[in-house]
């Protein structure tokens, strides 16, 4: 591995500022690494030529003294963020020919901030999955072990950061799709508050739960990226008109007196004992930094998965109706009539997990079932929100494992959807409540990374990053990277 690509985003920023390397040099090194690690299948598209052009422009801007804090820094986007003129596949055969005519708001914000896009990252098809095995472009391998999954749906984003193929990756989280892969790959990931980051141009899975965020090596890097992608967008009615704090300047605030809530429901017998001891170590570090802990209860959290698997598929069944073979995307050949065009285009264009969720969602919204499923799920959602409100009256942040165990083997759960859905048991309630949550490194178990999760009240991203940063200041978990890479 080159000496440049092992850097954090903050490290690269220093290198650029000092003039120790140019953006073109950095970009070239990353492109070489990406090319060397095709085996991981993290990228669907590498935008090599565009990247080098952007890097050159960035260097010129820097030479002219016009550089911003992020000019010339590399980034890669999850392949559900629309990128103008570039394939935006959403990990699906359905969009395997879709060249987006426009940029997602997140993408244009990154462009405007001077980021150099390296390419588009693999993902579970339409962000449906927890292992990155549902991608039409094949599974992503976990850089820590090629026989293990990197988690999903932002598996490409997490694995690319873990393998040091990009210092920063955009990602999205509907039920844990940023935090779970971050945990499985030993990276830091932040799912912001619903409404913090514009959803415009982010291909929808479940509109009321989807939220764009980031995966990087450190909380500090996440803070740098969050500064760029956050903020109100009048093209997204659900985006929040709330001021964006200066995340980086709040990173070093003292966390003395911070109260950390430990949800008792997340520390029950299902939790792997070794995972539990890793989390206990994290708690010990927080305590040593002056934080207090308190036990709290999220009474209805057991209902989160069933509620989620009604709401998310219901919204998805409607969101995915536009993929009909008429205006863009995959279109079946020689349809007999209109119905045949729909049936064949959708039947051939969508993979089985996507079809499963469309069917579940269609069923849940059907006449006669709507009240029993969709309305009930919305009631549970309100109860879960109230649980969090109560918890946050007792503490500042909640801490739990991100996942019950470390990464599972490729193929281990792909035939058992329910086992796969249970992967998100600790992360999903956060989405139902619309809250911010981050996953950060908590050491290794048998050579595979463990992650801990911090969840905060709405718009407390700065507090989450601050707490995680303080821990990263006194630990070295976030500096570990796969042995395999070290040997390259």
């Amino acid at each position: 591995m080159s000496s440049l690509t092992k850097n954090t985003l903050a490290g690269l920023r220093e290198i650029l500022t000092r003039g120790d390397a140019s953006s073109v040099e950095i970009t070239q090194d990353y492109l070489a690494e990406i090319s060397a690690r095709r085996d991981l299948n993290t990228f669907i598209t590498v935008t090599q030529d565009d990247a080098l052009v952007s890097a050159k422009v960035a260097d010129q801007i820097r030479a002219a003294g016009q550089a911003s804090l992020t000019t010339g820094l590399p980034i890669a986007h999850k392949d559900l963020f629309c990128t103008k003129g570039i394939l935006t596949s959403c990990g699906s055969k359905m969009l395997s020919n879709f060249i987006s005519p426009y940029d997602a708001e997140v993408v244009s914000k990154c462009k405007n901030a001077g980021f150099v896009m390296l390419g588009k990252l693999n993902m579970d098809e339409f962000a449906m999955g927890s292992s990155n095995e549902t991608s039409y472009f094949g599974p992503v391998k976990n850089p820590w072990s090629p026989t293990h999954v990197p988690g999903g749906s932002s598996g490409g984003s997490a694995a690319a950061v873990a393998a040091r193929l990009t210092p920063l990756a955009t990602a999205t989280d509907t039920g844990g799709s940023i935090r779970q892969p971050a945990a499985f790959t030993g990276t830091s990931g932040l799912k912001p508050t619903y409404g913090r980051v514009s959803r415009f141009g982010m291909i929808a899975f479940a509109s009321s739960l989807d939220q764009g965020g980031l995966i990087a090596q450190t909380a500090e890097d996440l803070a740098i990226g969050m500064q760029i992608i956050s903020g109100h967008d009048n093209k997204d009615s659900t985006s929040a008109l709330i001021e964006v704090p200066n995340y980086e300047s709040l990173l070093n605030d003292s966390i003395r007196g911070l109260t950390i809530g430990l949800p008792e429901e997340f520390f029950d017998s299902r939790l792997d004992t070794r995972m539990q001891s890793q989390i206990e170590e994290v708690i010990r570090i927080f305590t040593s930094l002056g934080a207090n802990t308190v036990s709290v209860s999220l009474t209805h959290v057991a209902e989160a998965i069933p509620a989620y698997y009604v709401i998310a598929p219901a919204e998805a069944s409607s969101n995915l109706s536009r993929f009909d073979g008429v205006r863009f995307g995959y279109r079946a050949e020689k349809p007999i009539d209109l119905t045949d065009l729909y049936e064949c285009s959708r039947g051939e264009g969508f993979g089985s997990e996507v079809k499963r969720r469309i069917l579940i969602g269609t069923y849940a919204l059907s006449e006669g079932y709507f009240d029993a499923y969709y309305k009930k799920a919305q009631q549970i959602r309100r109860l879960i929100k109230q649980d969090f409100d109560r918890a946050f009256s007792l503490c500042d942040l909640l801490l739990s494992p991100t996942t019950p165990s470390t990464a599972f083997a490729l193929g281990e759960k792909s035939d058992d959807p329910v086992a796969m859905y249970l992967e998100d048991i600790y992360t999903i309630a956060t989405n139902l409540a619309g809250l911010p949550g981050g996953s950060f490194q908590a050491g290794l178990i048998d050579g595979l990374p463990a992650g801990y999760q911090l969840t905060g009240p709405a718009f407390s991203e700065a507090k989450i990053l601050n707490a995680a940063h303080k821990v990263q200041q006194v630990t070295d978990w976030h500096t570990h990277y796969p042995e395999e890479i070290r040997n390259v």
Binding site: S100, Y102, A206, V326, R327, F328
Partner: protein, 480 residues
């Protein structure tokens, strides 16, 4: 004997400059797909953002029909697949519409008024158009119309005849025009009407099975479609058949309704609240400002015109139905100072022309001011009814102002006694036989016979003689 039960669903395209959820233009008639943005095309990743103007328009309509305004209304998705529905769902309002229960009054043929309740009015987006005839064995899709804002106005089934349905539709049309929230152009589809029709034995309280006639596009066709459907239903029942609940289309060429091709299965629209849009919460201040900006509505203008211009209820009703006509009339009445004569001229000549030519008052070539001048010239006896008609025709063909037409065509009424006397003398001289007959006739016959002499005088004077003066001179001369 049967009673018909009719309810109307009226779709009104709101006349916003841009669409309900995108910035694309809404103007009619552009080449296909030139007014369809990424959002209208339902591209992956795009999101709808509401055009606040539609809330104002809907609330104004709600206030105009004295409805309960939905302070929190919700946009829902109605899911179905069709090529001219780009997202695979239509954004509409199901359980929480922006306008709740309201009402309007319609005037029946006997002059009495009837209150018709309006169940609700809600906002939704229009679909695109499928063009079936332009391509060989293929269907073209034009998404220019996709996303045009619609206000769907649903009446209670309280209309009892096709005539009542048309009267109701005219009232709705009048209100939306007064509010200036739609051009109401039925031919261009800015106002479309679905008619729900059922029949039941007179006196029955149970509703019969209804059919829905979709997309009727003129007032005349609404009346004819409903009547033909009522007759069809009566015939069916008399023949011992049952009415099937179905959607039908009206064929104006054959003046009959036909079932639309039945879908293979009943649609389940799987409505649910659109997660991309927040509930619309209207503040009291916003509603008050809408109320304050309401224009005078047809009902109150009618009362005002009757009072101010001394015209009948019927005339006032006709004149205020269209706001532009009402304004046109008012300008004439104000300038000429004669409400009744103004009403006669507008109704008898101006509206007659509009009916005949199908043009609107804004396209009418004669200014209100010119009609007022014409009326002033009638009142000051420069013109009589015959020459006035000539001037009106000249105005229509754009021959200039009233006074210049009078001057150029030499239409000034002859009121000079000397001149009139000499014409009368000529007529008497040329018709000795008729004069003799007149003089020996019984007085009750003389009146009718006088008409002949008047006609002769008018002929010689080319219609310009003052008829009252001619009468008087003739009476004097003939009696001598």
């Amino acid at each position: 004997m049967y009673e018909s039960v009719i309810g109307l669903e009226v779709h009104v395209q709101l006349s916003t400059l841009s669409k309900i959820f995108s910035g694309s233009s809404t103007s009619f008639g552009a080449s296909p797909n030139t007014q369809a943005s990424l959002i209208d095309l339902g591209m992956p990743g795009v999101l709808p953002t509401p055009n606040a103007k539609v809330f104002e328009m809907a609330v104004k309509f709600g206030l105009a029909i004295e409805a309960k305004i939905g302070k929190t209304s919700v946009f829902d998705r109605k899911n179905y697949f069709y090529p001219d529905l780009p997202k695979g769902y239509q954004i509409t309002q199901l359980d929480a519409p922006i306008v709740g229960l309201g009402h309007v009054n319609i005037t029946l043929e006997d002059g009495t008024t009837k209150r018709i309740n309006i169940t609700r009015a809600h906002l939704e987006e229009d679909a695109g158009k499928s063009l079936h005839n332009s391509f060989d064995r293929l269907t073209g899709i034009d998404l220019n119309r996709a996303g045009t804002p619609l206000l769907e106005i649903v009446s209670e089934p309280e209309l009892r005849s096709a005539k009542e349905a048309v009267a109701y539709l005219r009232v709705i049309h009048s209100i939306i025009r007064y509010l200036d929230i739609s051009d109401g152009n039925m031919a261009e589809g800015s106002m479309r009407c679905d008619c729900n029709v059922s029949i039941r034995p007179q006196g029955s309280k149970i509703l019969g099975t209804r059919t829905e006639i979709k997309n009727v596009n003129s007032f005349r066709f609404v009346e004819k479609a409903i009547n033909s459907e009522i007759n069809r239903q009566i015939d069916s029942i008399e023949d011992g058949q049952q009415i099937i609940q179905e959607t039908r289309l009206y064929d104006p060429d054959k003046n009959e309704t036909r079932p639309m091709r039945s879908k293979e299965e009943a649609n389940d629209y799987r409505y649910f609240p659109d997660p991309d849009l927040l509930p619309v919460v209207l503040s009291d201040a916003f509603i008050t400002s809408c109320r304050n900006s309401l224009p005078e509505l047809p009902e109150s203008r009618k009362a005002r015109y009757m009072e101010a211009y001394g015209i009948s209820q019927y005339d006032a009703g006709v004149l205020v139905a269209d706001r532009d006509v009402a304004d046109y009339f008012a300008e004439i009445a104000e300038t000429s100072g004669d409400g009744k004569l103004s009403a006669n001229w507008v109704m008898g000549n101006v509206l007659a022309d509009l009916n005949q030519t199908g043009r609107s008052i804004s396209e009418f070539p004669v200014e209100a001011n010119d009609i007022a001048s014409l009326i002033i010239r009638i009142k000051d006896k420069t013109l009589n009814s015959k020459t006035a008609k000539t001037v009106f025709e000249a105005l229509l063909s754009g021959e200039g102002s009233v006074d210049s037409i009078i001057k150029e065509r030499g239409l000034v009424q002859v009121t000079d006694t000397g001149a009139l006397r000499s014409v009368v003398d000529t007529v008497i001289e040329n018709n000795p036989h008729q004069v003799t007959n007149y003089r020996v006739a019984a007085p009750d016959k003389q009146g009718k016979m006088l008409g002949f002499f008047v006609g002769q005088v008018m002929k010689i004077s080319q219609g310009k003689a003052n008829p009252q003066m001619v009468n008087q001179i003739l009476l004097d001369k003939l009696s001598g």
